[in-house]
Amino acid sequence: MNAQEIIFYLIAAYILGTGIMAVTTNRIFRAAIWLLFSLVGIASLYFWMDLEFIAAIQIVVYVGGIVVLIIFSVFLTQKAGDEMPVALKSRTLPAAFASLFALAFTANILLHHNFGSASNVMFDPNMDKIGMAMLNTGDGGFILPFETVSMLLLAAMIGCIVIAMKIKKEATQ
């Protein structure tokens, strides 16, 4: 077993362990922190796969953005130290059974499926290539989804403000 394999298994155990803690812990603030650890683990998996750019996006957007947003909404909607009511056994047992069965089923298929072999080209997703393809209008370019996603972000931003805005009683009358 070489170092690369050991590091992969360590990262996998870290991601899955913190992920399980994030969905099972009873305190909502701790769940958010476990989710943060899990997302950092996924970023390290991207580093392991030589995808520095995706790893950087993962850290900036998920760890720096979404988890902070989630923690803010936890503080806005409930007391941080509160424990949530324990989930009913009649709910957790079927859920655990369904998830484990589906996992075993899918893993069985994956283990027996031959994915074929890759071409011998080196995988080299450097920043130049990603940037050129992102704004390329020609063949294989991604300018249309790029622009669409920018419109989507603008719409989502305005939508958030409108939804979360407090309407004063006097203004509505």
């Binding site: 998920y62 979404i66 909607t77 996992l103 893993a107 997703p125 996603v149 958030c160």
Partner: protein, 103 residues
């Protein structure tokens, strides 16, 4: 067996079903949102792994991941706005208590 596509895909499958378990058992909207984030992350790992191990000459999988991350950010922001609005009208973000449209 050297570490390859199958290992990474099984890792992402396990992460996806951890998210599914959380989605089934949680009754608090914020924790349901966290489970959805775990599921979206496992899909990202899938796209990137297929790109790296099967089609190393392309970078399409990376772009799918980038756009999924962007849309997940927008989705989380909208979801949290809805959660805050729900909290204002119900004083709770438990999904069992928002049942006006159920019957």
């Amino acid at each position: 067996m050297p570490i390859g596509l199958t290992h990474v895909i099984i890792l992402s499958t396990a992460l996806f079903f951890i998210g599914v378990y959380g989605f089934f058992t949680r009754r608090n909207l914020i924790t349901i949102l966290m489970s959805i984030e775990l599921m979206l992350n496992s899909v990202n790992i899938n796209f990137v792994a297929f790109n790296k191990y099967l089609y190393p000459q392309n970078i399409d999988g990376i772009f799918f991941s980038i756009f999924i991350i962007t849309i997940a950010a927008a989705e989380a922001a909208v979801a949290i706005a809805i959660i805050i609005n729900l909290y204002r009208s119900h004083n709770s973000i438990d999904v069992e208590e928002a049942n006006e449209m159920k019957y």
